[in-house]
Symmetry: D2
């Protein structure tokens, strides 16, 4: 998969800190914005986010171009309703090839990989035959698998992102959306380090695991892993869940 | 597919009419509720809905049990974000059989039907083999097709339903979600006939087609079809789109 | 203030439990609904709500008629965006009297009460004079105070209610919206006792206070107070915050 | 009032056009973003917005610093739920002065203006006296009027803005929120001229007035006024409603 942050609110932390000030002072936000002191602002923001008063960070918005996730993953993704999506249509696009995602556990074993690849080949053939027989793409695609790759543009604000990371960076989430969430987190940490300072799965954000008997049992490892997150860490994070 | 209205706000039109009164009079809604006159109430409601002041009909909520739609359809459905969904999980359910939806245009032709059914059989076999080789359901399901049947519980309020019908009863929507929308509309018309009096695709609600050059060109037929809608009309409505 | 639950999803806990089943079994929700066993269902629901998997309880919706809260309170209330409201308009209603809410701390003292009541009298006079001089109600109301009484119809689903109670039953919330939240909680506990079993302020729902140095310091008293909540407890709850 | 656009998605129209492409082509959004051709992009965007397919313009977000609107106006404003707000608190801010908004119709007449100003003076005095007698600001503010000035930070995406303008630029909206909407529209037209090309009240966006017998009757004048909108036009627009 490929995840690229293509746009975001400029100076996101300034915008959010100025909003935080607005609620507790007589001075207005336009004036505040002009005379902003980033050191003080970051302190206020860290404080506000720390206490879970997350409405102010809704003012910062982030847009991601995502390529090559499976439709299984996109179906989970779009269940997050406080966000905006534009997804590649299987109704209007007539596909030449069937690009697909292979789960690592299937990839790892020669036998399962063979079954999987053969099946994908059969599906691609069936799709093509149906198209050739005059079936429109919107119907031919009924044979397409959950594994089929899709592209999607995602916009979420910082508050929803924190919530998304809570659920989807968790080791209990499926590996693919977990990788997506981790890649998104790495991107936003670069441009809004204070807001996303303690971002990650629930256990990282709360300081304890709320999953009760469903816990993954790796609290310490997970908390360590999110202490400093960089692009090279994606594989390490992926392996945590095995 | 099977669509059943399993719950809804009792006396939905009374609740909405009382709300409409609340905004324009000194008398409070608790009193209004006790002394409600349904004839006057319906008049107010018809008026309010007619002028597009739809916020009052948000107070009426409808819950549907939906069985046997395809995952292609459910993926479109859950893009409507002002609603609540609980869907059957392919991660946690280990399927014994692969139930699937066959598009009518594929069904209609012996050649295409054979390709389709064979492909489904191959997929079901591949899924089973992967499971037998120790692949967890959440990964084995990557071979499952868009055609795979799913179950889902949907809750929408009347305002969102009107919007949903606008888009999804339209002949430009895919046939499967169109059937779903029509079945839902038939159900709610029974219990909230005033609110849904003029419900249907955009052209029915607006009195003209807003799709410009993408119009289906069947304005008159569509408007006629929605004049009185009953269970037996599902097939007729489905055929309109052919 | 007067708070009356005028409508709600019938059998709310059955609807939510059936939804919970839907996500983890092959059997569909329409069948489940017909053969529901309330004992087993409640167990599933208690489990699901307990682990914070709250999406299933969105299917249960509750509508309240609220009379006689202040505009200060309604302005706070409508900031909760995942809800539906219909409020008495000050633009379209020409008021004969100015009904108003007096804060308890002002009521408690003869001096402050006198200042307050006189001010209200001056405001009512000014409003009337402006109306008499031909100023339309939508402009004359600019003299009306935050204390002015208003009526409002509120619809929230159970998930949003739990969140609302977390914030607004908290002793750090303003006394008026706290009373409103407590009255709403008492109403819904009667009809959905399992869903709202552990409802209340954050500390009651989480088992600890998340407010850090802003804590009210009354954790034990608050947790005790919410153990069994009945109509007669409103005053006791109000006093907790003094 | 003062309305300043303090932040927005950079290159908003590029982001939205790239999203539009994503849904109808095999090529992914990250690649599209790199090789963007603004002329073709604008054509696509104009087309998409024109047909009312507004989901793609949700990816562009706009943040406004607003100073000096009345609490009457802010109470209307925050009823738009698909948006983010941070408002100056009357609970936590202890006000030294009472700044207030005077409606033009009250300002226009010496008699009404005197009544209004005297009333504001009485209110400010009462507030100060209550504070001096130990009443906390959150209770003393119950005497504050709807006219009291407030500051607020607003973030809306382009889709919600189009909807907001439909309702609030309409001559049937109250003059104050109409001025706010017009000022916001002027700001966003500068940075996203294609998206907001036909923005304005319903009649401007639809080409007809949907208000039926409640129409203002000034269709032609209104449509003309929104043809080219600049800062100097605020007064002209305000007068249209008289």
């Amino acid at each position: 998969m490929r995840v690229k942050l293509i746009a975001y609110t400029p100076e996101p932390e300034k915008v959010c800190a100025v909003s935080a000030y607005t609620s507790i002072s007589e001075k207005g936000p336009a004036d505040r914005f002009e005379e902003y002191d980033s050191k003080k602002g970051e302190k206020v923001l860290r404080h506000v986010v720390g206490y879970g008063h997350h409405s102010v960070i809704e003012h910062a918005s982030f847009t991601f171009a995502v390529e090559g996730i499976s439709r299984a993953c996109s179906h989970q993704l779009v269940r997050h309703r406080l966000a905006s999506y534009t997804q590649q249509s299987q109704r209007y696009v007539k596909f030449k090839d069937l690009d697909y995602v292979t789960p690592a556990k299937i990839e790892a074993n020669k036998g399962t990989k063979e079954i999987f690849d053969n099946t994908m080949k059969q599906l691609a053939d069936a799709y093509q035959k149906l198209i050739d027989l005059g079936i429109p793409p919107e119907d031919a695609r009924y044979v397409f698998p959950n594994a089929a790759k899709t592209n999607i543009v995602i916009t979420m604000n910082a508050r929803e992102l924190l919530h998304f990371f809570k659920l989807r960076c968790c080791l209990r989430a499926q590996w693919e959306i977990r990788e997506l969430a981790n890649r998104m987190l790495i991107e936003v940490k670069k441009v809004a380090p204070v807001i996303f300072e303690k971002a990650g799965p629930s256990c990282v954000q709360l300081g304890y695991c709320p999953e009760g008997k469903f816990t993954c049992g790796k609290f310490k490892e997970v908390v360590d892993a999110y202490k400093s997150l960089e692009e090279d860490d994606i594989e390490k994070l992926s392996k945590l869940g095995d």
